[in-house]
Each structure stands twice: as C-alpha cells, then as structure tokens.
Amino acid sequence: MARVVILGAGISGHTVARYLGRWLKGSEHQISVVSPKAMWNWIPSNIWVGVGEMTKKQVTFELDPVYRKLGVDFRQAKAVSVHPDGGDGQAKPYVTIEYTDESRAGQTDKLEYDYLVNATGPKLNFGATPGLGPEGGHTVSVCTPDHAIEANEQLQENIAAMKRGETRNFVVGTGHGMCTCQGAAFEYIYNIDHALRQNGVRDKARIMWISNEYELGDFGMGGVHIQRGGYMTNGKVFAESLMVERNMEWITRAHVTKVEPGKIHYETLDGTEAELDFDFAMLIPPFAGVGLKAYGQDGSDITDKLFAANGMMKVDADYTPRPYEEWSKADWPSTYQNPSYKNIFSVGIAFAPPHPISKVMKSPKGTQISPTPPRTGMPSAAMGRAVAASIRDMVNGAPEPTHRASMGETGAACVASTGSDIFKGTAATMTVYPVVPDYEKYPEYGRDMDLTFGEIGLAGHWMKYILHHVFIYQAKLGPGWHLLPD
C-alpha cells in the first residue's frame, strides 16, 4: 500500500487529488490532501467579486465533501516541514502539519508518505514592499475572495464619492519589481473601468496602470506576437490599444518601493524615482515560497537541498545560471520530480522555475525590474495531471515518472474579462503555444503562430462565464468531470 500526501488544494493540487483519487479509488492506496483553507476557490472569478458582480459563495465551495466522494483524506492544516528521510522515531518519510480548523487549531501531526506532492502555491509576499496590501497596508488585492470583497467595498465607496461629484485616482498593477500574475491586474483594471461606466462616473476618474513589465502585454512571458490586421504584431500593441480605447494611462518598467496613504513611490528602469497619487489602488504582491522547512534524519536543516532560495521547490529543471540568450525550453522541468528525492514532486507556483521568461533587467541602483514567470491556470492543471499520472504508474510499479508537461511544450489560454455583461460585455482572449518560447522549433517568434492569437469581443466574455461554471463543476466532481478539458 502506498500513501500519497498532497500539500495544497489550489488548481494544481486539486487537479492531482481528483485524478489520483479517481484512478486509485477502490485500491489499497491512500491519498491525503493538506490545505490550510476549508474552501476551494476559482481564483480567476475573484476579479468579478472585486467589482461586485459575484459573491464569495459563487467562487468557492467546501473541499471536504468533495474529497469524501473520492475517498481522499482531507486535513485542514498547513504544512510546516518535510522530513524526506524520516527521523524522530519515524522510519518512513513524513511531513509535519499544523491544523487550522477551529476544533484543532494549533495542534500538530505527522503524516507519513510514500509520495509527496508539493502544490502549496505562493505566499502572497505583501511584506516585500512597505505599505503594500490590505492587511496593514494601503492597497487592496483580488488574490483571495476576502481580499476581493474588501476591494469591492472600497470601489463602491469611491463610486459613491464620484456620484457626489468628487474625482478619484485609480491605480492598478503590480506592487513590486519582481511580480508575476500581471494578467489578474490587467483584468481588474478593465472591470473597474466597466463598473465606473455602468455607474455613469467614468469621467470623474483617472485610471492608471503601473507594472514591472518592460512593455505592456509582456505578462512575464517575454511578450507575445500575434497576427492582426495583416501584420504580425506584438501583444504590446494589443494591450496599449485596449488602454487607449478606454482612456487609461500606463507606467511600465516600474518597481513600487513604498506605499503610503494615497501615495505610491516607485522607481523605474532608467533610475527615475517618482510618486503617484491614488484614492484606490489594487497592486498584485510578489510571490514567494510558503516557507516550508526540510530536515534530515538527524534533524539537520536540509531546506536548501529541497528548496531554492525563494522558498520554491527544486524539480527536474536545469538551474545552471546562464545569460538570457543561452536559455532554452530544455531548461524547463517536465516531470516535476525533485532531483534528490524521487518520491517528491512539485507543481503549480510551488516549483522553482529555472529562470525568468522575460529578460531580467536592473535599474542603475541594481533593483531587478522584470516579471517572474507565470505558472497559474492551464499550465498548473497540465502539470498536476501529468504528475498524478506519473504517481499512479509509479505506485503500480513504474520505476520513474511516465508523464511530462513542460511549459516549453504546453500552451496556455487566458480569457481576461474586460467587462461583464451577457450582451455588451467583452473579454480579451489570448493564447500562447508554447508558454516558454521554443526558438529551435519556431525560430522567428518562438511560438506556433497558428495556436498563438489574441481577440477582443463578446465571445470571450461568454467563454469566461461558461468556463467559470465548467471549472467549478469539474472541481466539484460533477458527473463526467474527467471528460472535461483541464
């Protein structure tokens, strides 16, 4: 009998759990999922919670009943440490966890494992920028449903003030020079614009975008080329056009250094230090590892053996430092297996990427101002499914991982809402294939131009809305869920 422990129940962790649960159901093997939150959250729809178009209930559901359907053991707890060689009286590898549910809050436990999947996702590192974030800071966030609810409350207060005739400055973007997930902020800024127009107060607002991208539309993927209007054009044109059409302004190449009430301080790549006034600001925080520690059998700290300096787990990537021009898709992991411990895998944001996809740039002061690679959404699900299939085969005797999902060989589709309305709404649908450019196979643009495209329209909004329901249905394990695409 093998025991599989999955740390985290976000998109990637839940994908591993539902496929493994289905494939190993009825067998002697056991699966445990450890997640500090009782609820699953369809994160893309938090954007709509942030403008009052959806409620928390519409974007979340309880995990425990879903896992009971599959016979998966659910622990509402946070992982504290990994002991891959056992120790402290345990012969087998184990993880220590600390319960977070009300009845057992603070209690600790040890979970032995034969296979461990680290899918803890990111720590929202608001602390990296003084004054950033909703908890003790001066900006809001849409990273969790509760953050999004707070963002909407502030948004509605500002709308009410504008209805009284006041003017307001809205700033949306990234709150640090090394953020990823620009897409979420990109989506949110358009939904704010849409909400202001619906309330008839758009003329009272100045809407500003601030981000660490070298150019708009970089999204941490080094930008993207698409065919448009008879030209092969860059995503920058696509993104700038969307902003100009809606009378928005933008600041790129910016690292937010500090946020004070009503004032954002930032530094740009050319060394300029400036300030930006705001009444409402939603800035995405940088991501870090969740702070898991690792210990050897003798209790020695072996955290650096399992984790990179940023707290993310090392997998089968090539971490050799190289100049930008020498990076290739071959550096990217495909099995997500830890090189030191073959029974440990890491998926989603929890794995350490070998290098950024966007070129690393630094200001004259030495501040890195360039996006880190995105690993959310479709790539997260693809790697989760591949790891689940590999573990299924390994518990049945395969000597090594059998499935691969390199970001250099998989694509991503992103449907970014630019206003929710069944008849007048729109969304920007963007796809890239592959996510990590492959200049050997596609020498000109690094991507397959047939599968890489961008389009704005109502159809995108319908897709976004349908995907919301389809993915929640799938995550709740509705009948036939496994037939739906991930």
Binding site: G229, V237, E240, S241, M243, V244, E245, N247, E249, W250, M378, A382, A405, E409, T410, G411, A413, F423, K424, T426, T429, T431, Y433, D448, L451, F453, E455, I456, G457, L458, A459, G460, W462, M463, P485
Partner: protein
C-alpha cells in the same frame, strides 16, 4: 471674420489631444466604430465563439500530445 483690435481672438478649435503630440495615447491603434460594433455583434460573436473554442481545443490537444 474680423476681430476688434485689442479683443482676445477665439482660440483655435483644435482638440486638446493634438496640442500635445507624441504622448502615450498617440501611438497605439484605436478601434474604429466598425471594429467596436463587431466586438459586440451577436451574430458575428456567435461565430467567433465557436472558432475560438475550436482554436483552444486544438491548443489543448497539442499540449496534451
């Protein structure tokens, strides 16, 4: 049209945007009414919906192969 001596002349009717050329908003393409209409045209978007779905399905197939 004549202007009385000493009276201020009427300012030229030029959109303010053009007073400050080469600003951010000067360079990117701005969709025409035609383009904006088709972005929310129910018939056109119905077709686009299926085309986009097909393209994403193709992307998924390629990713999984």
């Amino acid at each position: 049209m004549t202007t009385e001596a000493g009276a201020p002349s009427e300012p030229p009717r030029v959109p303010v945007k053009n007073r400050e050329p080469y600003q951010q908003a000067y360079y990117p393409p701005v969709p025409t009414r035609f383009t904006r209409y088709f972005r929310t045209s129910l018939i056109w978007q119905f077709f686009r919906f299926w085309i986009i779905n097909f393209k994403i399905f193709k992307l998924l197939s390629n990713s999984q192969s």
